[in-house]
Every structure is written in structure tokens, then in C-alpha cells.
């Protein structure tokens, strides 16, 4: 067909959608009946509709990337923090609840300032946190509350309990590890979260809820792969309970998937992306 002007295409679009008043509709009727350009434009615009539907549907669903979710949660937590300094009482309670209850931990997100590079640092639980107080609904990352531990100077790793079932195909995009933009869609998108407390689920990773155990795990991973852990997600990998760790090295990232035995005798590495 011969292309028509932008204004005429708008007019034709309104016509095909039945949005013109009678007078204007009759004008377009006449143009279609007498002008081959308009007739062709009308026919091809109608014919394009199923293809447009398919193209738009092909954009697929979008899940909020884990890194964006963590930033958003942290911002909301900051918004709710009192102006006074110090860790909110409720947050401290939540941290204790997190440690004491794997069920609560399964739905919580903790910001751990573990000095993960300087893993030789010894100390108690190093992050303040808050639990969401509700059972997750497949939303994955929940609240993270950055703490300000005074004895640590290393980088910060955000710890998530998303329960997401990752695969090699969706790993990079799902974790937003500086890979291609906007790729967590289509057939390789991460599966909806598994129930955090399902048998064989996140509960198998309960040992790693202990900060010391998690440090040992991260130390084993860093010893093998180098880098700085920036995100730790208690999740699944191809259906198996796994801790997914994003290691940052300068501008590059590597994602390591570790099994429940991570830190006991090495990283229990199940999978890694290239650096």
C-alpha cells in the first residue's frame, strides 16, 4: 500500500474503532470507496490487527527484578523509619524472630552488612532487619532494612528469600545482574515462587539462615570464584533448594548457585555463570 499521512492514519484508526461521529464517518466511507490509497490503508490496517495482538501479547509478563525489588523495599523501610537514630525496636524484634523461626525467615528479606569481602571479620548478626509480618504470596523479596554496623566496612549484600525457581536461562535476567536490560520475560522467565515452606523447599536451607553459616558459605564461594557478594537469594535452582549469589567484580558479575551444604566443605556449587 502507499503510506498515508500520520493525521490520516489517526483518522482511519478512529474510523476502524468506530469512534467517529456520523458526519466524519461518512467522509471516511467516501474516501475508502473512491480512493485506492485509503482503501488499501483501511484493508491493511484491519488485516494487521491479529498480528498486532500477537506482537503485543508477545511482550509477555514482567516480574519485578530482584535488585529493583530490594531497592524498593529498602526505600519503603527507610520511609517508615523514625527520624531518631538507632535501630527501631520493631526491627530488632523482627531480626530475632527471623533467627528463631525459619518459617518467618522464609518470607523475609534481610539486608546483611556482612563485610563479605573481609569475611574474616568476626561478629554477631550484623544487619538490622524487619520481617514483613505477613506470609508471602509469591512476591519473593520482601522488606530489607539496611543497618549501620559500626564494626564493618565491607560491601553490603542483600539477602533475599524469594523462593524463585531459577534455571540457567533465567538466572542473569532474574537477578538483574547487569546483564541485558528487560530480559526477564518470555519462555525463560523465572517461574513463580515456590511456597517457601513447602517440603524440600526453602526449609532445606534453614542452616544458612544463621549468619555465621551464611558467612561460611559466602567465604567458600568467594574463595573459589572471587568477587564481592551483592545479592544472596534463598531460592531454588531447577527445582532444588539453592542459594543464588551474585558476585560483583568491578563492572562484571558472576552468579553462583550453591546447594544446602554450602560452607560445610566448600561452596557446594551447583552452577555458575561465566564471569
Amino acid at each position: 500500500m502507499s503510506p498515508i499521512s500520520e493525521a490520516d492514519l489517526d483518522r482511519l484508526a478512529d474510523y476502524t474503532a468506530g469512534l467517529l461521529d456520523q458526519r466524519e464517518r461518512e467522509r471516511v466511507d467516501a474516501l475508502i470507496a473512491t480512493d485506492p490509497v485509503w482503501r488499501d490503508a483501511h484493508e491493511t490496517l484491519l488485516a494487521a490487527q491479529p498480528r498486532l495482538d500477537a506482537a503485543l501479547a508477545g511482550l509477555g509478563a514482567e516480574r519485578l527484578p530482584v535488585d529493583v525489588a530490594a531497592q524498593l523495599d529498602a526505600a519503603l523501610v527507610r520511609e517508615g523509619e523514625p527520624a531518631a537514630t538507632g535501630t527501631p525496636v520493631k526491627a530488632r524484634r523482627s531480626w530475632r524472630r527471623l533467627l528463631l523461626s525459619s518459617a518467618a525467615a522464609a518470607a523475609a528479606v534481610v539486608a546483611v552488612f556482612a563485610g563479605v569481602v573481609a569475611l574474616s571479620n568476626s561478629g554477631g548478626p550484623t544487619g538490622s532487619t524487619t520481617s514483613n509480618g505477613y506470609r508471602g504470596q509469591g512476591g519473593g523479596a520482601a522488606l530489607s532494612a539496611p543497618g549501620r554496623p559500626e564494626d564493618l566496612s565491607g560491601g553490603a549484600a542483600t539477602v533475599l528469600h524469594s523462593g524463585t525457581d531459577y534455571t540457567p536461562q533465567n538466572l542473569s535476567s532474574a537477578l538483574g545482574a547487569g546483564q541485558a536490560k528487560d530480559t526477564a520475560t518470555g519462555p525463560h522467565a523465572a517461574a513463580p515462587n515456590a511456597a517457601p515452606n513447602a517440603p524440600g523447599g526453602d526449609g532445606d536451607l534453614a542452616r544458612l539462615d544463621d549468619p555465621q553459616a551464611l558467612r561460611g558459605c559466602l567465604a567458600a564461594i568467594v574463595a573459589r570464584r572471587g568477587g564481592t557478594p551483592s545479592v544472596v537469594d534463598f531460592a531454588r535452582f531447577q527445582g532444588r533448594p539453592a542459594v543464588v549469589v551474585v558476585l560483583a567484580t568491578g563492572a562484571t558479575h558472576r552468579i553462583v548457585v550453591a546447594g544446602p551444604a554450602c560452607g560445610l566443605a566448600g561452596p557446594d556449587e551447583l552452577y555458575t555463570t561465566p564471569a
Binding site: 503510506p3 492514519l9 478512529d14 488485516a47 498480528r51 495482538d53 519485578l64 520511609e79
Partner: protein, 206 residues
């Protein structure tokens, strides 16, 4: 407890999904009443859809993340002003979409050059069907058309819902969608050869 709340809810919100809309309202009320976890739970319920709308409307991941965060912080702060004359999710979407539209207008990121009425609409050099091509074409639409198209044709909201979110009449949403689809068809090259491999296109409408 925040001051100035119109609500006087005294019961704690329970995470029951038997009436998701009503539960959203309960969560928002709980937030206004000082429950520090309620708003996060509300966001958690809707954030994937809100993200999808932001990402598709803005077309840039970082800008979309900023817009979403800015919008939800705004919603967090202004929750006490929610009048309850729409669903909470509609209210959240409206705030997010407005943040996106403001951001796009402010940065004038629309890459297309306005065409004179008499100039032909450019068409893609080849027929394009990949999601990347569609996203690129979508990003070239006027932002008002893009927002309507994203809500109705990509996210599947009804015209009435989109009209409530965009705060425009339903007829405006329909027109924006129709015009956006027509431009998208032109940008994707569908108007030259709308059915691949077919000499005579069907005339099936929507």
C-alpha cells in the same frame, strides 16, 4: 500512628485473600494507622503489574525503577488522602502511571520527530515481530498512546479500568489505543504486507 487519619480501624489486618480488593483497603487502612508492614505487603501484591506498566510505558529499566520507587513512596506518604472511590490497585496504578508520564515528559525522551500532516508515516524497512522490535516501536509512540496501549493491549486492563487509571474518558482511551495500534502497525511494517507470505490479507478485525 499517623496523625490526620480519616480511618478508625482498630482491628489488625489478616493476610486473607478471600476478598483481595477489600483486603487491599484493609492493608492501606492499616498502613495509615501505623502498621509498618502493611504497605510493603500491599506493594508486594501488585508490584509485578505495576513494574510491567512502568517498564512498558517508560521503556527504560532504570527510569522505570526510579519512577516506580518515586510513585510508591508518594503513595506511601499520601495514603491518608485515599478517598476510597476507586480500587486501591487503580489508585496505585494511577500514581505509577502519572509518575511515568511526568518522567517521560520531563525528559522529553520520545525519539520520534513529529511529522507534518501531509508527510507519510515512516514504516519499518522490514517486517518485524520480535519482542525487541515491538518494544522499540512501542517506545516511539506518543506517551499518552503508549500508556493506554500498555494498560489495555499489553496488560489486559479493561477500557474502563484504564480510563480510571489515566483519569480520562473511556472514549479517549479507545482512541489512544486505536491510534497507537495503527502507528505501531506502521512502525513495524505491517501496513505494507500485513500478513507474511499471504498475497491477500484477511480482513479480520479486532
Amino acid at each position: 500512628m499517623r496523625g490526620g487519619s480519616r480511618w478508625t480501624v482498630t482491628d489488625r489486618v489478616q493476610p486473607v485473600d478471600t476478598q483481595p480488593g477489600a483486603d487491599d483497603r484493609a492493608l492501606l487502612r492499616a498502613h495509615v494507622d501505623g502498621d509498618r508492614d502493611a504497605f510493603a505487603e500491599l506493594v508486594r501484591r501488585h508490584r509485578d503489574r505495576l513494574w510491567a506498566v512502568a517498564l512498558r510505558t517508560i521503556g527504560d529499566r532504570e527510569d522505570a525503577a526510579d519512577a516506580l520507587q518515586e510513585a510508591l513512596i508518594s503513595a506511601y506518604r499520601s495514603a491518608h488522602r485515599f478517598r476510597g472511590d476507586s480500587a486501591v490497585t487503580t489508585w496505585l496504578h494511577r500514581i505509577v502511571v502519572n509518575a511515568c508520564l511526568d518522567r517521560v515528559r520531563r525528559r522529553a525522551v520520545r525519539p520520534t520527530v513529529p511529522l507534518a500532516d501531509t508527510e507519510p508515516l515512516p514504516v519499518a524497512p522490514v517486517d518485524s515481530d520480535t519482542a525487541l522490535d515491538v518494544r522499540a516501536a512501542l517506545a516511539q509512540l506518543p506517551v499518552e498512546q503508549r500508556a493506554a496501549l500498555v494498560l489495555v493491549d499489553v496488560q489486559g486492563y479493561s477500557v474502563a479500568e484504564a480510563a480510571a487509571i489515566l483519569d480520562v474518558p473511556q472514549g479517549t482511551v479507545k482512541s489512544r489505543c486505536a491510534r497507537g495500534r495503527a502507528r505501531l502497525a506502521a512502525l513495524l511494517g505491517y501496513l505494507r504486507n500485513p500478513v507474511p507470505g499471504a498475497d491477500v490479507p484477511s480482513q479480520e478485525g479486532r
